[in-house]
């Protein structure tokens, strides 16, 4: 299967690879997927006092599309408010990276990772987690 140029770009030069201090109350960590399924994403956000994401890092075990989806997610997250970050939809990732149907699950995983990171941050800071009622495409 041929990958799109954008997937190849993110895969070859992944943005924001790394680890934030998960014990900090300013950092939210989302770990989603399972090794048995061949995809695990860990996405971390650093949030400032105005609820703005100042930094985002990822590490992903998975195929090229999974790596590209999480790399793109970190790019989009930086500078966004928590509220705006919650609005990132997996289909935006599908569109941006031109993912074929068999790779849509990679974008779903990236969206799940974003929401998991935000909720981890919320819980750490005494807020209730936001339940996602969205049905994935």
């Amino acid at each position: 299967m041929a990958y799109s140029d954008k997937v190849i770009d993110h895969y070859t030069n992944p943005r924001n690879v790394g680890t934030l201090d998960k014990s900090s109350h300013k950092v939210g960590t989302g770990l989603v997927g399972a090794p048995e399924c061949g995809d695990v994403m860990r996405l971390q956000i650093q949030v400032d006092d105005n609820n703005v994401i100042t930094d985002a890092k990822f590490k992903t075990f998975g195929c090229g599309s999974a790596i590209a989806s999480s790399s793109l997610a970190t790019e989009w997250l930086k500078g966004k408010s928590i509220d705006d970050a919650m609005k990132i939809d997996n289909m935006d990732i599908v569109e941006e990276l031109a993912l074929p149907p068999v790779k849509i699950h990679c974008s779903v995983l990236a969206e799940d990772a974003i929401k998991a990171a935000i909720n981890d941050y919320r819980v750490k800071n005494g807020l209730a987690p936001i339940e996602s009622e969205k049905v994935h495409h």
Binding site: M1, A34, P35, E36, D39, V40, K59, F61, V102
Partner: protein, 403 residues
């Protein structure tokens, strides 16, 4: 050195130029139908087919009368399994095979089950070999056929065919083997091994695609299979259809070259394969899949833990290899062969098959090692699992959200 480097010779092989040269006249000048008995065009074609039949037979120690030409190993497997089931159904309805067989065998067996047959799918041991005691225990008076592959396409392990054949025969069953990966690579002798039916394919041994053969024993016992296609009654009534003369000529030539060069080629390839394997298993947390003592000379299947196979292949785009990961399939199921060795799903997802071939050079192997080492290191830097492993976190202690 040409990039990308082809290391997927278990999927298919490039055609040897000597094979192509032998085939060319049979497309244009010598185009006759081998079944045309009444003119020179037909005689020339028939002569070429007869010669190829001898070349194929010689490679596996058979008689030329025992070779049925087909479109490839998938057809040969189907003809053998369904054909034996139909021919011998008055004698019994039970077939034994193994879970690591090629889909052509497994799916033909499923078809037999739909036709009222019973099939036992033997598990394999951790090293990929069939447990002979389990085979013995599975034999019943109803067993008409045991079908176990010679060499495995994913991990290269070589089954103890001689012992398997002896068990089948002791219980009055026939022994069939899909030898697609083994013929031309290692010595295969239908008499020494006790094989009653054998499937082979040209394109796995530097011949053309779309042609193969089924060996069907003629003496001790005389084996028959029911034809699976109706038509002109070619190939002793077992496989109708105008013979693919150029393809058959190519298969014959490919067999002749393999027979001549097998011994030196197997030595050369196993040395290169061992070099590749030794270099790559120096990487931390890398494991060779399958038995390494009973293995085809040109294959190494290696799992690089904590990296995903498809992602890894993308970083190895200068190499044409194959992965046990199946991230693109709807089921996301990794290789059933690797899973049947008892490999956990994550290790199966992390596997790469390196398949060397006649045209693989040492320079290419050295380059492949470099590319693979770099790719594994790069992907581990990206892998959260690798980081956890390095921090001493037990991955089994984490509750993963299955998706």
């Amino acid at each position: 050195m040409n990039i990308p480097i082809y290391l997927d010779n278990n999927a298919t092989t490039p055609m040897d130029p000597r094979v192509l040269e032998a085939m060319i006249p049979y497309f244009t000048q010598k185009f006759g139908n081998a079944a045309s008995r009444n003119h020179a065009f037909g005689w020339v074609a028939e002569e070429a087919v007869d010669y190829a039949r001898e070349q194929v037979a010689k490679l596996i120690g058979a008689s030329e009368k025992e070779i049925i030409f087909t479109s490839g190993a998938t057809e040969s497997d189907n003809l053998a399994i369904k054909g034996v089931f139909e021919m011998y159904k008055d004698k019994g309805n039970h077939i034994i095979t193994a879970v690591t067989e090629h889909k052509a065998v497994l799916d033909a067996c499923k078809h037999v089950e739909k036709m009222g047959g019973k099939v036992t799918y033997l598990p394999v041991k951790e090293d990929g070999l069939v447990d002979l005691a389990q085979l013995e225990a599975a034999m019943t008076p109803e067993t008409i056929l045991v079908s176990i592959m010679y060499g495995n396409n994913e991990i290269g392990v070589i089954q103890p065919v001689k012992e398997i054949a002896a068990i089948a025969h002791k219980h009055g069953a026939l022994f069939m083997t899909d030898a697609t990966q083994a013929v031309g690579k290692i010595p295969v002798d239908v008499n020494a091994d006790g094989i009653d039916l054998l499937a082979l394919s040209a394109h796995k041994m530097y011949g053309p695609k779309g042609v193969g053969a089924l060996y069907v024993r003629r003496k001790g016992p005389r084996v028959k299979v029911t034809a699976q296609m109706d038509g002109g009654g070619h190939e002793r009534g077992m496989r109708s259809g105008t013979l693919n003369v150029p393809g058959i000529v190519g298969l014959g030539k490919a067999c002749e070259i393999c027979l001549e060069e097998m011994e030196s080629e197997a030595k050369r390839l196993s040395a290169l394969r061992d070099k590749l394997q030794a270099a790559l298993t120096q990487l931390e947390e890398s494991y060779v899949n399958g038995n390494v003592d009973h293995r085809l000379p040109h294959v190494a299947n290696i799992s690089f833990k904590y990296v995903e196979g498809e992602g890894l292949m993308m970083a190895m785009k200068d190499l044409a290899v194959s992965s046990g990961s199946a991230c693109t399939s709807a089921s996301l199921e990794p290789s059933y062969v690797l899973k049947s060795l008892g490999l956990s799903d994550d290790l199966a997802h992390s596997s790469i098959r390196f398949g060397l071939g006649r045209f693989t050079t040492e320079e290419e192997v050295d380059y492949a090692v470099e590319v693979t080492r770099k790719a594994v290191t790069h992907l581990r830097e990206l892998s959260p699992l690798w980081e956890m492993f390095k921090e001493g976190i037990d991955l089994n202690s984490i509750e993963w959200a299955e998706h």
